[in-house]
């Protein structure tokens, strides 16, 4: 009788443990897949497709360049030089920035409007920026229900740097923020996305 009881206890422990483990795993899988899958729209897919095409083109161009070098110097094997590697990294950074913008723009467009939050936040931002960022100008500001999108111009590249440092510590921008530096050194501009407290920005995975 006793061995049967022990076997019963063992089966109960093992079954409970396995069920717990699989439940946990399932929950993790759901958490990982739910948000991104639901959020991917045609715009994001388009950007991602463009990125894939760019990478393919880059690979083809690199292959063609290597073939040229091999034809010119049959005895030597062509190796990618360091600047090429850095350029490739820069390109990836630019592509990633584009993807972030596309996803955040999509989140902004899909966001439901909350009139009271929108009006209150727009007033707060306009007032805070006017007081704290004298060398930057708020050109455009739109809030919806849980996200705001704004565009700034800066008097100089130095003013653009100062802008990022100051904005990071302003009460009006205390929740999650993404700043994209666009434009040129001569005419620097920034696009800023601000999430409502407790509402995360839809950042892509690396």
């Amino acid at each position: 009788m006793r061995p049967l009881t022990y076997a019963g206890v063992f089966i109960v422990i093992a079954t409970t443990a396995s069920a717990g483990g699989w439940l946990l795993r399932g929950r993790e899988a759901l958490a990982r897949h739910d948000a991104p899958t639901a959020a991917l729209s045609a715009k994001v897919q388009e950007v991602e497709r463009e990125l894939r095409d760019l990478r393919r083109e880059k690979e083809l161009a690199r292959g063609a360049a290597e073939s040229k070098v091999e034809l010119a110097q049959p005895g030597k094997t062509a190796e990618p030089s360091k600047p090429e590697g850095r350029d490739a990294e820069q390109m990836t950074q630019a592509q990633r920035s584009e993807l972030i913008s596309a996803r955040l723009d999509q989140q902004f467009e899909a966001d439901n409007e909350d009139r009271s939050w929108k009006d209150c936040t727009e007033r707060e931002i306009t007032s805070a920026v006017g007081e704290s960022l004298p060398r930057s100008k708020l050109e455009d500001l739109r809030c919806r229900g849980s996200i705001c999108r704004m565009t700034f111009t800066h008097q100089s590249a130095e003013a653009a740097q100062e802008f990022s440092g100051t904005l990071a510590h302003m009460r009006a921008f205390a929740s999650e923020v993404v700043i994209r530096n666009v434009g040129t050194d001569a005419e620097p501009r920034s696009i800023v996305y601000l999430a409502r407290s407790g509402h995360p920005l839809d950042m892509p995975a690396d």
Binding site: A14, A168, E176, N181, M203
Partner: protein, 172 residues
């Protein structure tokens, strides 16, 4: 009795790997002394460092902001679910060991990640140190193509109020 003990041990050993899946663990847990932090912009001498803390004195102007380096130790496989499949880390956490007195003014910190070319900057939620407590927790999403910084703004000390940062701890 012996059989009972043996059976219990075998059952526990078999169940452990499955229960072991519950606590996901961070692979990096690095503590930095606060004296690694530097004044943002041109150093005005507003901050006073010692072997155990950094604080903002009444001397100097500047922005009152500190930039503290964070070495990104890992990316992509920070957590293990216990089933052998790596799970991508979605964020990282910092604990700022600090102290400020009542009415000293805000001591706020946030985690910042920047693309290597500086073109995109991500700011996590700002955390504010409560008076009389010695730890502030902040969290942000992780990125495999960025570098990380902790940025804190500190109130200026007076004859009766003060704020200090002793250390900061990063869990990836």
């Amino acid at each position: 009795m012996k059989n009972h003990i043996r059976t219990s041990l075998v059952a526990s050993a078999l169940a452990l790997p499955v229960f072991g899946a519950i606590p996901a663990h961070a692979v990096e847990d690095t503590v930095y002394p606060a004296i690694m932090c530097l004044e943002e912009g041109i150093d005005t001498g507003a901050f006073n460092r010692s072997e155990y803390r950094i604080t903002r004195t009444g001397v100097g102007n500047g922005t009152g902001r500190l930039l503290c380096p964070i070495a990104r130790m890992t990316c992509g496989t920070s957590y293990d679910s216990g089933f052998g499949d790596p799970v991508r880390a979605t964020g990282f956490r910092a604990y700022v060991h600090t102290y400020r007195t009542e009415n000293s003014g805000d001591l706020g910190c946030r985690l910042i990640s920047k693309n290597y070319d500086g073109s995109t900057i991500h700011l996590g939620d700002t955390g504010f140190a409560p008076p009389g407590q010695n730890e502030m927790e902040i969290y942000t999403t992780s990125s495999c193509r960025s570098f990380y910084i902790l940025s804190c703004t500190m109130p200026q000390n007076t004859s009766t109020t003060y704020a200090k940062i002793f250390a900061y701890q990063v869990r990836e």
